[in-house]
Symmetry: C2
Subunit: 281 residues, 2 copies
Amino acid sequence: MASVIPASNRSMRSDRNTYVGKRFVHVKNPYLDLMDEDILYHLDLGTKTHNLPAMFGDVKFVCVGGSPNRMKAFALFMHKELGFEEAEEDIKDICAGTDRYCMYKTGPVLAISHGMGIPSISIMLHELIKLLHHARCCDVTIIRIGTSGGIGIAPGTVVITDIAVDSFFKPRFEQVILDNIVTRSTELDKELSEELFNCSKEIPNFPTLVGHTMCTYDFYEGQGRLDGALCSFSREKKLDYLKRAFKAGVRNIEMESTVFAAMCGLCGLKAKSTLIKPQTF
Amino acid sequence: MASVIPASNRSMRSDRNTYVGKRFVHVKNPYLDLMDEDILYHLDLGTKTHNLPAMFGDVKFVCVGGSPNRMKAFALFMHKELGFEEAEEDIKDICAGTDRYCMYKTGPVLAISHGMGIPSISIMLHELIKLLHHARCCDVTIIRIGTSGGIGIAPGTVVITDIAVDSFFKPRFEQVILDNIVTRSTELDKELSEELFNCSKEIPNFPTLVGHTMCTYDFYEGQGRLDGALCSFSREKKLDYLKRAFKAGVRNIEMESTVFAAMCGLCGLKAKSTLIKPQTF
């Protein structure tokens, strides 16, 4: 069948599954279409047990964060902000059949918890991306909201991540595939960073900046904390490391941003950025 | 003050904090004793807010697993098995003030959830080890119980881990400390492996073996699954990888064992082993 899309459009972003202006969430797995059923194990959802397009087809914003309670609170807040008439009690955990993650939906906004650390958010993202793909969602924006340790900035400052870096201040995520290491980009959507930054200006007393976010595999030894069960470095070494991080553009530290940036980037989530409120460090 | 311990005892295991036959859980952090208060953030416990020796001083066994619900079920099972008279309702989540982990205690048995992946269990272990240290617990045995993917073994087989290996089949855990990589041993207690294996023989229809457990950073691409959002390898490459793993002694795959072995080994938890019931793979 001949394409109905003008040639000028067809030539743009053909690798990103764009279709008459709509950008679908896509998977990069040739086996998935061959499967009779796709079970999203850790979300307690599946293509045969649930009508995913009916349940999730209207999703436009996905907000993810570590803590289940906070994501529920966020969903209730959004429900109020969006002025929906349904009772708050109707906002129920969609993943109630499992205790791995929690998921709440209010209108076009989906809020999901991801636990702590790269492996935990990675499992959730694999299944969330498949969910959005099966539901034929398009033009989806995903934002990670979380706490983090700030570097050289006042406590309470919100950091909008422009790029996620690893413990060596490199903008990369090293994914082990079988026994091969593949390096992936961790750049986040610039347009969304600017939009979020502009929003912050409209709110009084809402200190916000755009900067690099460092993602570590560990909360204690990896982030220079002196109060873990194990600590083999001096206070001076810790300060030297944090100073070098600051010099490299890092403004906060957390534990999920590199894989979040890498996976969302590969799967065409329309725009993405992490938004983090640093606490004391 | 002169030591009251006979010289013959003092010379034994001085690096392991042994004290007249008792083996205390120890931390390896010179800063910890200088702190006025130690807050175990993710467990919602602290040295000033809680009487840790009174609450936990009698702990002899710690069982950890990913899922909060399963750890509650395990605690209730142990409560019944140990024949305690208190009502089941009295077994309450000690970490109810936080939604990061769940913790239940019945007699000398502590059951704690750790979420999914190395970073998540690492945070819990740092704070658990400090908790056991502050509570002056001694001769503590820790066992990780969890599900996993089996390699070349019948579904339902229990694998007792003798050694945890990484994605490259190496018996090591690479800990990033600031921006240095330190390699740690992942050997587990041989005596406990044997004890557990002997126990299994006493139970009818309880297929059990001792083997290596492979620990990955990822559930999908890292474990050769063909049903993730991303999959860049062929079915043949996957099978070749799993065959090589089997040849190297690996009998199951999960996501926490290397850091579990490394941290418990460093902090003198009396004996340790992971016990895993593989599901289909």
